[in-house]
Structure formats: structure tokens, C-alpha cells
Symmetry: C2
Amino acid sequence: MEKTSKKVEISLRAKEMPASPIRKTEPYATAAMKKGLTVYGLNVGQPDIETPPAFFEAVRNFPGKVVAYQRSQGDLEYLEALAGYYRRCGYDVSEEDIVVTTGGSEAIIFAAQATTSVGDEIIVFEPFYTNYNGYAVMCGVKLVPVTTRAEDGYHLPPKKEIASKITPRTRAILVCSPNNPTGTVLRREEMEMLAEIALEKNLFIISDEVYREFVYEGEHTGILELPGLEDRAILMDSISKRYSMCGARIGCVVSRNRELISACIRYGQARLCSPTLEQHGAIALTRLPGTYFDGVRAEYRKRRDLTIDALQRMDGVMCRKPKGAFYVMARLPIDDTDEFAKWLLTDFHVDNETVRVSPGAGFYATPGKGKDEIRLAYVLENKRLERALYLLERGIKEYNRTQVD
Amino acid sequence: MEKTSKKVEISLRAKEMPASPIRKTEPYATAAMKKGLTVYGLNVGQPDIETPPAFFEAVRNFPGKVVAYQRSQGDLEYLEALAGYYRRCGYDVSEEDIVVTTGGSEAIIFAAQATTSVGDEIIVFEPFYTNYNGYAVMCGVKLVPVTTRAEDGYHLPPKKEIASKITPRTRAILVCSPNNPTGTVLRREEMEMLAEIALEKNLFIISDEVYREFVYEGEHTGILELPGLEDRAILMDSISKRYSMCGARIGCVVSRNRELISACIRYGQARLCSPTLEQHGAIALTRLPGTYFDGVRAEYRKRRDLTIDALQRMDGVMCRKPKGAFYVMARLPIDDTDEFAKWLLTDFHVDNETVRVSPGAGFYATPGKGKDEIRLAYVLENKRLERALYLLERGIKEYNRTQVD
């Protein structure tokens, strides 16, 4: 067999595919742990809250002897249970408006594919959930950022500023409230303003509401509550955070636009189904009493208060007190948080312990923004959270000392 | 809020997204079952073989209290176990050459994204696994078909015929052996011919080998066995069929091209992880003795013989005896099997029982081909399989009678 002299090259879009800023420090974290270090993970929204035992019980009692394909649209019983959950949220939807997805991740991909063609644009508010970048590259879509600012509590800018970013290629507005990474909960008027723009400019609104239950002040406004958006409102959702089930990979797309749902079902057919056991287990979760969230919410509120107090006491650190989700963007007295996040894992420890954070630049689409910011996820119980924040404070001081030397 | 008069349109690529021919009859099947009919499913490769109890046991004994995110590349212990499995297959790979995917479906998407840009071409041999069409639309890739023919046992055509389809935009050859939907097992010389073409034309080879263990005559040749392909051979795999775990959604991409694996890990980071519980359970499956497959293989061989005998006895039906996987393409004395597959569910039954099949056209990329063919999956135990084939025979006769009337 004659060998060609040419090397086969991976695709340009593969080269362009960004590493997740939340996960790209993984090799350093793994190396740190191999050296025997304890690493407190504030980088990723992985709660330590226990998954409700009802899930494990349902999975243990899975009735079949074969882990068979589930329907592409989703387990019928789960779809019905989900429709019930959304009706309790006040949304007028039935199981025919829902497609179960493999995590919220797939819900975004289905929504992006169904609303855009290659080269089309989606309006996003930066800082935004960094993985939107990855989906955009995979779907050949351009994310057009509208910047929100810490000074405004990361609330939306005026309508005309948003409208000015809309071009003939704009197909959708992607909004996330309660927000990852800022924790901001959009006011009803803000959601209504986006609805107005969508109607005036004939756009879809894709609303990422996976943190719906995690609001500590104010109130969540769901896109499906607003009138007049039947054909253009797309809810994307996930049970990952709601029930501390990140590894289950169960999300969904909800829309009353049947043509869009039909397209999502065809995307669903191409990947056959979402995990069977987890859908079965998730049925049990939809039956948990509403009080379940009271306990979880109280716990996260405590963690938020502890985190913000600690951050605000640190020299040169600036952050706002978020009203929802379990993240906060903090500005550090550091030029390049990419370097800092890596350094925390490779060159720093206190008594063999260190902390892992997500550098901020990956949460922005505008080049240069976010380089002095980090995102923290307050997902650890109080003692460990305190320790992690102490390590961060020590880390900032020591890093800045090494930079001067 | 002023309502625009315009209707918001889903994207062109969403409109182009094909329904799976394997699954598009679902509404009719559901309606038939609601009417009280028993529907024998020969349409989908969903084995009734029991999932090994070791999987359920491992899941029941999942050590954590939180179903947390797994690593994006995959559970370390599972990656090591998988590398062991492949080394037992005779492939020289380590865990660093593997990325766990959410089903074989995601493995195809990652491989297609990593090797092509929008508008690029991949050579496929038709009839091919119909869902390749869906991935192609999602990835903006053109599938260029090379037709294989029943008369040749669906073996590959001569090298020059394949080479003649290669253009400057061709980036990869996608091959599947043992084949879905034909059951053909490619000979070593055929795989070597593809390797030669890939080297001469500087292409990737993406090899779908999810039926590796299901070979009844002849021998499987894995792409990773062939020398000289280190940078261009991509194995895509799944445990769905191997262990009767279709609903678990666990597959993988394997390649010794580290740049490609790095891209797949970045795709993996965008969707966070594959299901945690199932990866944990799958570790146990890699420890099953090799004899496990002897029993399963003997069972499928019996089903194959029964299926082919029955088909070859039917008037006007033509098929080849496949050597692997658990599918067969059969030509029926019917012009439009799309209509026929629907009719079986809407207008036909014998004693309240009917059968579901996959129409053939969706397994071809060349327009017009496959319209008189169906794909059958012999995945039911003998008694039910016999009954299903009897229903098919009766159905063909009755359908042709109604067409004449």
C-alpha cells in the first residue's frame, strides 16, 4: 500500500470549535488531583445537592429486561408528566408541544437548527452561557452579542440598542433567565420588550429557563406565559439543575409551533432517542411536591449570600449580588484570568488544597471582553464553599505577587 | 403588543430534515395499537435479547447520591475498560484514543463535523443506514452515493467506480460492515481497497462497526486492524446492539489521530457529557466473557435462517442471505413500499395482528432507488418472528389484491 505524503487535515470547523472555558482546565485539574491535591470545583454548575431518592428508586424498579429504544419524541408517560409540570407553571401546553432531548444541550442544537440556516444570526446577551459558542460553530450560526454590564446588574439595554443589532440574517433572540453566568433574573417588562422585538422583526425567541425554580428575589417570567407568541416562542429546558441530575442528560424543547416541533421530532429520529432509564426515572421527579424546591432554594440562597459576602470582602474584587440561578460573574484584579485559572491548578496550593474557576472571556463573543472576570458556581455546601473562597482569595494575592516578581 | 402579519418560518434545513423511514410510521403504529392491534416490529433494530443482568446490577449499585456530570471525554474507568475491549479485538489503542459519545448517533455527528466543513462530501455505499441522511442535513454535508447491488451481495464495486465519485470536496469514505441494512460483511480485500483509496486521495475513512460481533459466516475486518491508516482511520461504535442496550445511548469514536480526538473532546465539552449511570453500567458489560457473544450469535443466526427461508418462499420476493448484523433488504412485488408500510398499519390485520417494516427508499441517496424494497430487522424470538413473516406474506398478497381492484 503506497502511503501518500500528504497529512489528512481535520476540518476547519473542527479547528474553530472552542474548548469549553468551564472544562478546558480539566487536564490541569486531573494532574493536580494525581499529585494528591484537593480541588474545590467552583468552575462548573455541578451541585452537590443529592438527587431525589425517588429517581434512584424508579430506576431500580425499571420494569423491563431490555434497555430498549424509547420513542424519539420521548417516553409518552414522561411527556404527559412534563406537560402537567408546565401547566402547574402556568403555561398552556400539552404533550404534543414537547420533544424530550438529551440534555438542555441538545435542546439548544435542535432549536438552533430548526430556526436558522448556515450563516444566519442569533442575538445573544453577553456574558452568556459559554457553550452557546460551541453549538453555534456546530450549527454554522453567527452569535451576535448585545453586551450587558455589571453596572446595570446585567439587565437588558434599551430596546433600540438591541434592535440595532438585527440584520436581514437574524432569525432568533436567545435569552436566559435566571441567567447563567450572571444570576440576573429578567423583569417581566424586559421579557415583554424582547417579545415586542420578536414580533416587530419577525424573529423566534429561544428562552433558556433551566434555572426557573432558582429565584431568590423577584419573580421568574417564562416565555410561554406571554401572549401572542404561539408561533415563535421556544422554551428550552433541562432537569439537570432542577433535580441535581446533571449526568442524566434529560432536557426538552417546548413550543406551540407544531411545524417546529415536527422538525425537532425529525432531529430526534436521527439520533433515535434520549436515554430510556433516565426518562423513566424522571417521571417520578415530576411528582415531587412543590415544597421540594423550597428546601433547595433556601440552601442556594444561603450559599449565594456566603459567596457574595466573601467576594465583596476581597481586595480589588467586584461583583453584583445575583437574584437567581447559582452563578456569579466576578471581576478580579487580574489581567488574564485564563492564565490565573490554570495557575491555580499548576502552581498554587494551601495545605494541598486549591480551587478551580472558569475564566470569563469564553462567556463573551466580543473579543477582549471578560478577560479580568471569572464565573463562580456556588454549588458546594457551606463549609467547602467557605474554604474554596478562602483559597481563591489567597490565590489572587499570591498570583499578583508572582506577577510582580 | 402589536402583532406582525408575517408568520415566522422554520429554517430551510429544518424543512429539509428527513423523517426516519424506520420511525416515520410511528403515528400509524401508535394508532393501530390504540385500536387494540398487536404490531410486530420488524422495522427497527431493537432486539428482544435481554440486556445482560450485570448492567442492571451495576446501575442499582451506583455508588453516588448525585447523578453528576461525567467527564466530557467519558468515565475514566469506562475508557480504560473500552481500551481493553478493543485491544482484545486486536486494535492497538489506548484510552487516549477514545471519546465516549451519546450513542453511535453522536459518534457519526462528531466524526462528520471533525472531517468536513459545510458543503463538503462524504462517499457512502447505498443502500446505507438511513439516519446518515439526517446527520448529513444537520452537518451541511453532501452524501455521495456509490450503489451496491443485490446481485453482487451488496459487496463493493470496483475501485475505479468508487474513485470516480471523488471530487475536490470529498473528505471521507463512510463504510459500515457488518452492514445495516444489507447484512453484508465486507472482505478484507475490500476494506484494504478502501484504505488504498483513502491514502491515494487523502481522505478519512469513517468505519461504522457496531455489528462487529454479529458475523455468521466469514470474518469481520476492523478499520483499526489495517496498517498505515493511523491518521485517517476513525472507528465509530456503539454498545446498543452489542449488549441489547439501544436505550442506553452509549457509543464512542476511536482514532489514533490525536488532533481529531481533541476536536471530538471539544464537541463533547459543548454537550457536557454522555449519561453517567449508563457509562457506569457499561463498565460491567466490558467484563462479560467472550462466550457471551457465542450465545447471542447462535440465536441471531437461527433467526436469520428462519427469516431468509420464509422470504425466499414468498411469491415475488427476492433477497440475499446476509452474513452479518441482523437486517435484510428484500425486494417486494410492490411499487411503492412507503405506501405499503403505512397500509400495513392502517388497513390490514389478521386476527388483530399486523407487522411494521421500513420502506427501502430512505436507505438510498439516489432518487427513485429502493422504492420496491423494504428493510427487515430479525430481532424477535422465533415464534413471533414466524408470525410476523406470515403477516408480511399475507399483507403483500392482500395489498396487491386491493391495488388491482
